[in-house]
């Protein structure tokens, strides 16, 4: 395809190509939840991505993060607390049964009653009711702007509630959704085989007859699969993949921006915390140089961000944060004031790249302010154990990343340990910040919300218990001779396979 891609897209599938064919993908990790395939309990993007082949949501996000119809053809918001979704006709589950309003109501109720993380993201839902046979009404206790964005993610997918209620289907063990593909076979950590859902509601979709997903944890194996054509598309982890694949025939490497971002945790809850004094934390925030982290550790593919993920409409400007305008000398002065001139601390990271690279740049940054950072690399399990296992947690500082989601207000919730839960062990709740977060959540999109969000960003920056750093790019490579895919330029839910139903397989090879 030689014509330029429309804005918001990295690639668009060439609709003139014939449909059919088998699409081979290679991804680095399988879904691996103890909860099985139940989409409502899925909490990581890699699982959402695979489940999205079979499950669908009422609404979805467009390339510009606008909310688009999916299983709901349209929706009304008679008041900021009420949403009425008009269901699409002719949607069936892959077992052939038609989707009903009961399925939608049941699914949402089930989600709200579950222990899922996503329950919190749906906001203050008061009730979910059937509004006639083809519509569903959701009422909120108070206005909640990210509501639609939260509905657009896989945990809010519509499940076959009739079968689940009569126990003929266990969603943890069986994938039964309205999506474009049906699972034929799954071997944990080895592969998935999907077959076209012939009863799919969208005309002419999905284009490919079958999708094979190979799980290949090693980057070299995925690169090989791409090069020798055994995979038409692969997710890559290295920010320099484009350079490495330069010269490989018919392979195109693209970087998809995401709203995910890295952040630094400073433990204030440990009994002898080095970060109890906010001045110390602020000094760290000042000394950090997100620009350098993005340029060096992420090869220029990421960008600095505040706690509202950069790249989302309405996110605040990281350059406007209080810490951005201060100099290293001010950081040193803050440290001196706090009596922490020779601050030394251990930064616990997991060993998956590029976390070690990010950590090493952080180390260099902080050295400018006279802070010594010792890096402690752990495998993911040990890292999780150390960071989340105990309250109060025992680490000094840790590095991780958040999925940024599709609305700038969603991820800010994690700065309130009382709602987030996972960070009670190392983060003190800040009443003021919590109020600001809640206020921004209620504010309808627009200039006022932007201002409210900016206030959240600034407050979080001064509090500096969790310091946002840079966004996390996703690298995707595909064979131009085997595939014509559609890809968004920016992803909110980390779903590389979002537009897989559009992808056209080029049969000539």
């Amino acid at each position: 395809s030689d014509q330029p891609n429309p804005t918001g897209y990295l690639a668009t599938a060439d609709q003139s190509l014939p449909v059919g064919g088998t699409l081979n993908l290679a991804v680095h990790i399988d879904s691996g939840a103890a909860t099985g395939y139940d989409p409502q309990l899925a909490d990581v993007a890699t699982t959402w991505q695979l489940l999205s082949l079979s499950y669908e949501t009422l609404v979805t996000v467009g390339p510009d993060f606008s909310i688009q119809p999916m299983l709901a053809e349209k929706w009304d918001t008679p008041d900021p607390k009420t949403y009425v979704f008009h269901l699409r006709d002719g949607v069936t589950f892959s077992n052939g049964r038609e989707m009903t309003a009961d399925d939608v109501v049941g699914s949402l109720k089930r989600l709200l009653a579950s222990k899922s993380v996503w329950r919190g993201q749906l906001g203050p839902v008061k009730s979910v009711t059937k509004d006639g046979d083809r519509a569903v009404k959701v009422t909120l206790n108070e206005p909640y702007t990210p509501f639609l964005a939260a509905l657009a993610n896989i945990p809010a997918a519509v499940l076959p509630m009739k079968e689940i209620d009569d126990k003929s289907v266990d969603p943890a063990k069986t994938l039964l959704g309205t999506g474009p593909y049906v699972v034929e076979n799954h071997r944990q950590d080895v592969s998935w085989t999907f077959k076209r859902n012939d009863k799919y509601w969208a005309k002419g979709k999905p284009a490919a007859e079958a999708v094979n997903v190979t799980i290949a944890p090693e980057e070299a194996a995925r690169i090989a699969a791409l090069q020798n054509g055994s995979a038409a598309l692969a997710t890559l982890g290295n920010v320099d993949s484009a350079t490495m694949l330069a010269g490989a025939k018919n392979v195109q490497v693209v970087t998809q921006a995401t709203t995910d971002f890295y952040y630094l945790m400073l433990n204030t809850q440990a009994p002898s915390s080095k970060f109890a004094d906010p001045r110390v934390r602020q000094a760290v925030a000042i000394a950090l140089d997100p620009k350098q982290i993005a340029d060096v550790a992420l090869g220029g593919k990421g960008r600095p961000t505040a706690i509202t993920p950069a790249g989302l409409p309405g996110a605040c400007d990281p350059a406007a944060l209080p810490s951005s305008s201060k100099s290293v000398d001010e950081a040193k002065k803050l440290l001196a004031d706090a009596g922490a001139q020779n601050l030394t601390f251990t930064l616990s990271i997991f060993s998956t790249e590029p976390a070690p690279a990010v950590a090493q740049v952080i180390q260099q940054n902080l050295q400018q302010a006279g802070i010594t950072v010792k890096i402690e690399q752990l495998d993911e399990a040990s890292w999780s154990g150390k960071v989340y296992g105990k309250a109060p947690a025992e680490f000094d500082a840790a590095l991780s990343w958040f999925a940024g989601y599709a609305d700038p207000g969603m991820v800010t919730k994690w700065w309130n340990p009382e709602t987030a839960g996972f960070n009670v062990g190392f983060m003190k709740p800040d009443k003021e910040l919590n109020t600001l977060i809640d206020a921004a959540g209620k504010e309808p999109a627009g200039a006022a919300r932007d201002k409210a969000l900016a206030a959240v960003c600034a407050k979080a920056d001064t509090d500096a218990q969790m310091i946002p750093l840079v966004t996390r790019p996703a690298t995707i490579a595909f064979r131009t001779d085997a595939l014509s895919p559609s890809l968004y330029a920016t992803e909110g839910y980390g779903n590389v396979l979002r537009l897989i139903a559009d992808a056209r397989v080029k049969k000539t090879q």
């Binding site: 990581v44 063990k173 290949a216 090693e218 699969a225 090069q227 989340y388």
Partner: protein, 322 residues
């Protein structure tokens, strides 16, 4: 009768070893920092979710109770279910064993076919003046190239320049033997480089020891050709340490050919165990390690038998000189 005694003694000590391994691995996985719940349920899991999960897999019971249950189940052939895939561990291991097995067999055969001649050559050519240097350098080179570097290079080069052998896609042997072999040749080759070198060095050492034996001098004195002497007198007499090594390598590879499995994306046992360790999937780790130990023990028994066959003085069946 003698055999029976030997076998029963061996079985007893093997059982003891397996029991030791089981205790050790069972305690060890539970000593690892970061639990299954944190790893798999993720940071957002609540305490009750974790508790529920623990209860589901019996992880809330005292450790020795867990061990007892597990041991009883294992004795009955039930290795438990993977907490990740919720599939029986035994079946998954069985499905993955052929991959690792094939890889290992190919690699070990290669190291025997290349390493042994190389070792013999460097030993026979060894001269105080430094002859056989090329062979020594070659085998030194083999141990010094890390598997992942060689593996990555091979994978890259073969996939980019389409050199005929497929990499990165595994085909079951039962589906297409030819294609299966084509995919296994390269990983086996990469795997064998190290093994070849070690085999060559061990062979060299063993052969050097045999070369000074009077019966070799006697054979030279009878006018036999070097090749003949090597074939009939040296190989067998130098075999014991080499066989021990090859057997050990076999067991070792079966337990962990994981880097190669990773780089070539082969669904083998090594990557299964390591992934399970990474996620603290206890049942899998325990079963995997136990399997590796069992293979190792069986291998040891076979080695002992083989060494006995090769050298009647050392064998289990050898009686004392009358």
């Amino acid at each position: 009768m003698r055999l029976l005694m030997w076998w029963s003694g061996r079985a007893l000590s093997s059982a003891a070893t397996l029991l030791g391994v089981s205790v050790l691995i069972f305690t060890a996985v539970r000593l690892m920092p970061g639990g299954f719940a944190e790893t798999v349920l993720g940071p957002f899991a609540t305490a009750e979710q974790k508790a529920e999960l623990a209860a589901r897999y019996g992880l809330d019971q005292p450790v020795f109770m867990q061990y007892g249950h597990w041991l009883a189940a294992v004795a009955g052939g039930d290795f438990g279910i993977s907490m990740i895939s919720r599939q029986p561990v035994g079946a998954e291991l069985l499905a993955r064993l052929p991959v690792t097995g094939e890889l290992t067999v190919l690699a070990v055969v290669a190291s025997a076919l290349v390493g042994v001649p190389l070792g013999v050559l460097t030993a026979v050519r060894a001269r105080p003046g430094g002859g056989g240097a090329a062979g020594r350098l070659l085998s030194g080179l083999g141990v010094s190239v890390p598997e992942f570097v060689l593996g990555s290079l091979v994978v890259f080069v073969f996939s980019r320049y389409a050199l005929g052998l497929q990499v990165g896609t595994w085909v079951p042997f039962t589906r297409d033997p030819a294609a299966n072999l084509a995919t296994m040749v390269l990983p086996a080759a990469v795997l064998s480089v190290f093994a070849i070198s070690v085999t060559a060095r061990t062979t060299r050492d063993a052969v050097l020891g045999v070369l000074v034996e009077p019966y070799v001098t006697a054979a030279v004195g009878r006018g036999e050709s070097p090749w003949f002497i090597v074939r009939h007198h040296i190989l067998r007499n130098a075999a014991a340490p080499v066989v021990t090594l090859l057997g050990t390598i076999t067991a070792y590879l079966l337990g962990g050919a994981l880097i190669v499995e990773h780089v070539f994306n082969l669904p083998g046992v090594g990557s299964y165990i390591v992934q399970a360790v990474g996620r603290r999937d206890y049942a899998v780790v325990q079963a995997g390690v136990l399997l590796a130990a069992a293979v190792f023990i069986v291998m040891n028994v076979l080695i002992d038998l083989l060494v006995g066959v090769l050298d009647p003085r050392l064998g289990v069946l050898a009686g004392r000189r009358s």
